[in-house]
């Protein structure tokens, strides 16, 4: 047992961080906020870098790595608020032609919501009657599928341009295995809809990245901002807020990474639960550390908070995750 990252994994993470710093720096983030649309060029570059094909077997032209490596990727994506239906496209790689290469943008319906529906080429799941809503997250345009998972369909059913496409996906897949490979272990029904599990876990990984980013942001601000003649990070109230953020982020990180190694559905549900809490809680605390300055549109804190809210709702929200974990007790 050695839970630390391997040399290769560390190199992968470093490489991804550098890649994203190049492809999507803060300037690009703010530009995307000002003019939200899916950057096809960026998508193709991510594809070329193996972001989507990471778990596709080498013999099928992919990178041939596993879920643990994918989790590292999505942590980094979460850190920089990389936009787009990353999880859906990643999961579809090797199954939906063009997804691996970043030529095709894949999205899916989850919990009555569809992200990036207008920009996607392929849509998985039923989106019948989906209507656009003004999304709380400026970087995640959403459609609402009426009557699913919430307060109903006051929005009505406006017509929409595109027909949803739902290709046949393998229903079960060993989460240890690279995408597209047939399961090698487990009887029938052991892992229900592994792709959805993978999507839940990668979403959790993004939450972890976001939680780490807001922790670092808060700590950095607390070390600079002066009030009452000292940096506010010297006040216990602020220090202890920051310490709590680190604890949440750390716990969620080990939970997500371990779930990536074991692929256990219950562990994945638990990891999502903790990751949602870490991302939303840390963004909240980061805002509190920032005070008024965090309340401005120009600070990135709100982007993390809003995205964290979206991710928390999109795949296996807390109430259901808690039930899944309780179930096996």
């Amino acid at each position: 047992m050695d839970f630390r990252l391997t040399e290769d994994q560390r190199a992968l993470r470093k490489g991804v961080r550098e890649l994203l710093a190049r492809l999507f720096d803060r300037e690009a983030l703010r530009a995307a906020v000002d003019a939200p649309s899916l950057d096809r060029e960026l998508w193709r570059e991510l594809g070329a870098a193996g972001f989507f094909a990471l778990r596709v077997p080498e013999e099928e032209g992919g990178v041939g790595l596993g879920l643990p490596e994918a989790v590292l990727l999505f942590e980094e994506a979460g850190r920089v608020l990389l936009p787009g239906p990353l999880v859906a496209t990643h999961v579809a790689a090797g199954v939906v032609p063009g997804a691996s290469e970043g030529e095709v943008v894949v999205t899916d319906a989850s919990e009555g919501l569809v992200a990036w529906l207008d920009e996607a080429d392929v849509v998985l799941g039923s989106t019948e009657g989906a209507v656009p809503l003004r999304s709380v997250d400026p970087l995640t345009p959403l459609h609402r599928v009426p009557g699913i998972g919430g307060a109903g369909d006051e929005g009505g059913t406006r017509p929409q341009g595109r027909r949803p496409v739902a290709p046949t996906l393998p229903q079960r897949r060993d989460p240890h295995a690279p995408a597209g490979r047939t399961p090698t272990t487990g009887g029938a029904g052991v892992l229900p809809v592994a792709d959805e599990l993978v999507a839940v876990l990668l979403t959790a990984a993004e939450q972890v990245g976001s939680a780490e980013a807001t922790t670092e942001t808060a700590v950095s601000y607390a070390g600079e901002r002066e009030q009452f003649g000292q940096v506010i990070g010297g006040f216990q109230a602020v220090k202890h807020l920051c310490a709590g953020m680190l604890v949440r982020a750390e716990l969620a990180r080990v939970a997500v990474r371990a779930a990536a190694v074991t692929g256990d559905p219950v562990e994945i549900a638990g990891a999502k639960l903790l990751a949602d809490e870490a991302a939303t809680g840390n963004a909240r605390d980061c805002l509190q550390v920032y005070g008024g300055m965090g309340f401005t549109w120009e600070a990135d804190v709100h982007l993390h908070l809003k995205r964290a809210w979206v991710r928390a709702r999109l795949r296996l929200p807390a109430a259901r995750a808690e039930e899944v974990v309780a179930e096996q007790l």
């Binding site: 003004r134 709380v136 959403l142 009030q227 009452f228 109230a237 509190q288 008024g292 965090g294």
Partner: protein
Amino acid sequence: MDLAYGAEEEEFRARLREWLAAVLPTLPARPDPLDWPARRAYDCGWQRRLHDAGYADVHWDASPTQRLIFLEETELAGAPYVGANFVGLLHAGPTIAAEGTAEQRARWLPSILRGDDVWCQGFSEPDAGSDLASLRTRAVRDGDAYVVTGQKIWTSHAEVADWCELLVRTDPGAAKHRGISWLAMPMDAPGVTIRPLRTLAGSTEFAEVFLDEVRVPVENRVGEENDGWRVTMVTLSFERGTAFVGEVVACRRLLGELARTARENGTWDDPVLRRKLGRLSAEFQALWRLTQANVSEAQATGGVPGVGGSVFKLHYSHARQELYEAAAAVLGPDALDLDRDWTLDRLSSLSYTIAAGTSQIQRNIVAERILGLPKGR
């Protein structure tokens, strides 16, 4: 321990209620929230009606209990908020009334009460937030005027304000609380630049105000030179007892709406949510009682507020944020829809533990001023 209102108070309530029922249907349509001149016109029109009906000075001259009733009834009736007249009626006005000369009172107060002049507040600065007294906007005496240079932030209604209550540093050599003065600055003075500040909710409720050698007549100073901090404390503490009346009434209404929505969409059947709403209801009920307690205290001490406001604000800001979290759970995926009031209000509510004294600062105040624990870090 008497929660019943006296005959005079009940009569005040009945008359007010009757007037509200008559006047509210005659109001024009609410303005677009992004149209500042329209908002100003709307708010000032409402203040003019209050003035003409004899309610203009309810924040100044009425008893705390009458003020409580006024705020409760207007909120219950869905009357307009104080809006653009907030600073004039609740901050600058009372300060001028308490600390201004007879001439200053005559000059500024009637137009505030009539809804003619709108005031804004120039207190906070980018580097002076929780530590307000560290403000650095400089005012240098030049003949019969101060020449003011600096930057203010979090100024509401700056775009449509006529006057700004401005804190400036007149003695940079003095201890930080000792070198501050309070000025009334005309917003159309040369050198004043306003830049709207976009909040995380996407709105521009606030502005930054840049001051570049703005000349403010010395006669516009309220209180003595370098005595502005004391003058300010009067302002900040003025209406603490009743500051939150409207908000608690509004929250109890919101909670009722939320329960209705939950019953409609089925989430009411989830005991986790239902019990959460029950708990919040108990908390807002208690916050209402705490408001009544604070008002009773203010009434008895001649309107001088205690530190009960900090106790109230600490719990209220937390409970109201919890209310929006519960709303998000009730709304499910719809909680991500910006076109729902709930969502915008949820975003705005993030400021409650920050604005007007962060929860951290409030806890310091409670610990030091009520509990007598030593000042420290």
